[in-house]
């Protein structure tokens, strides 16, 4: 159950990149040379394979995950984490985009999420695609796939916080429930 297995990105198959390599990338992405990569700079550097801008919500989520100082961007040290995070997701995406279409369809999404340990109904995968597919293709592009997984992870995290005895069940009041939901989705 996704719930008990630590839900994490791809297994470590890449050696950590060398600093010189990362610094090169950082400089190229940090267009205004401020020493901090902003949301818009990161967005411009990322591709979702569709020639449309990378999902800004996903960009925000990623930056906020690694921005330890609440400055609205990432410095070079933090960027190492961003780079690894995105590379891991690229590997996962490539793994599950079995027909190499550049998109993950409903079946491929099902395999991916089941692989992560989620147990969700067949119907629900349709709901997920509809909810996250910004390209209106009935399949998810790279950025929307990440966004979907991020939201699922956040819901899992909030559930875990209430499941003190770790049995996969929570007992919550009405307001607790609404707060859990509206804080994440």
């Amino acid at each position: 159950m996704a719930y008990h297995s630590p839900y994490r990105a791809a297994p470590q198959i890449n050696a950590p990149p060398d600093q010189g390599f990362l610094w090169n990338i950082f400089q190229r992405v940090d267009k205004d040379r401020s020493g901090v990569i902003s949301d818009s700079e990161l967005q411009q550097a990322l591709s979702n394979g569709t020639w449309t801008p990378f999902n800004p919500v996903t960009v925000r989520s990623i930056i906020s995950m690694f921005d330890r100082e609440n400055k609205g961007g990432v410095n070079f040290n933090e960027f190492a984490g961003v780079w690894k995070y995105i590379t891991d997701w690229q590997n996962i995406f490539r793994t599950y985009d079995r027909d190499n279409s550049g998109f993950i369809d409903k079946n491929e999404l099902k395999q991916a999420l089941t692989g992560f340990g989620y147990r969700l109904s067949d119907q629900f995968y349709g709901t997920l695609i509809e909810k996250f597919d910004r390209q209106r293709k009935g399949q998810v592009a790279f950025d929307d796939f990440i966004q979907c997984c991020i939201v699922l992870q956040r819901l899992t995290d909030v559930f875990r916080r209430y499941d003190t005895d770790q049995d996969g069940w929570i007992q919550v009041s009405y307001e607790q429930y609404l707060s859990m939901v509206f804080n994440v989705v």
Partner: protein, 185 residues
């Protein structure tokens, strides 16, 4: 804790769907199978002027509406469900229009609280804050956001009640169920 009322009961008076003025709009969009998808619902609501002088509903809001009443989990909406939705929408719209005195298309947090209160929701300031943060932009709530909020509250409250077996105001959620319910509401 207050459970909200759900507004007026289904309209009596039309013996057959065909005599219902709404049926014309519905069937022109639904086609042979008598079911409409989120896209078609968006078109249908625009055609019958449901959003009035406000901007047409977002696709995501339409999806939420379908999920709210989708008892057979089909992902689409039949005419009876559409009628029920129209009835609820009219009620919510009335509230909003009453509050939107300056016809700006938006209401403020306090007006939103009054609107929710009149629907039977009695939230603590904390819970209200969470709900408002999610559905407002710069302190104002646009009509679509307001409707999305009403739809979600109704859906989520429904889900909660069904899991509050002892009617004590707490509900039990299993993890997989929690994920699915939350993501589709």
């Amino acid at each position: 804790m207050a459970y909200p009322g759900y507004g007026a009961p289904p309209q009596a008076g039309y013996a057959m769907g065909q005599q219902d003025p709404l049926y014309g709009f519905f069937s022109s969009v639904a086609g042979q199978d008598g079911q409409i998808s989120a896209e078609e619902l968006q078109r249908c609501l625009t055609q019958c002027g449901m959003s009035g002088s406000y901007k047409p509903f977002n696709l995501e809001t339409c999806r939420l509406m379908i999920n709210m009443l989708d008892r057979d989990m089909s992902g689409s909406m039949g005419f009876n469900e559409f009628k029920e939705l129209s009835s609820a929408l009219n009620g919510w719209k009335q509230n909003f229009v009453t509050m939107d005195r300056d016809r700006s298309g938006t209401i403020d947090a306090q007006e939103m609280q009054q609107a929710l209160s009149s629907m039977g929701y009695n939230f603590s300031p904390q819970a209200l804050g969470v709900v408002l943060r999610r559905h407002s932009t710069l302190g104002r709530i646009a009509f679509d956001d307001y409707v999305a909020c009403c739809v979600r509250l109704r859906s989520l409250t429904d889900h909660f009640r069904r899991r509050d077996s002892s009617q004590q105001g707490t509900a039990a959620f299993q993890y997989d169920d929690f994920i699915q319910v939350t993501m589709s509401s």
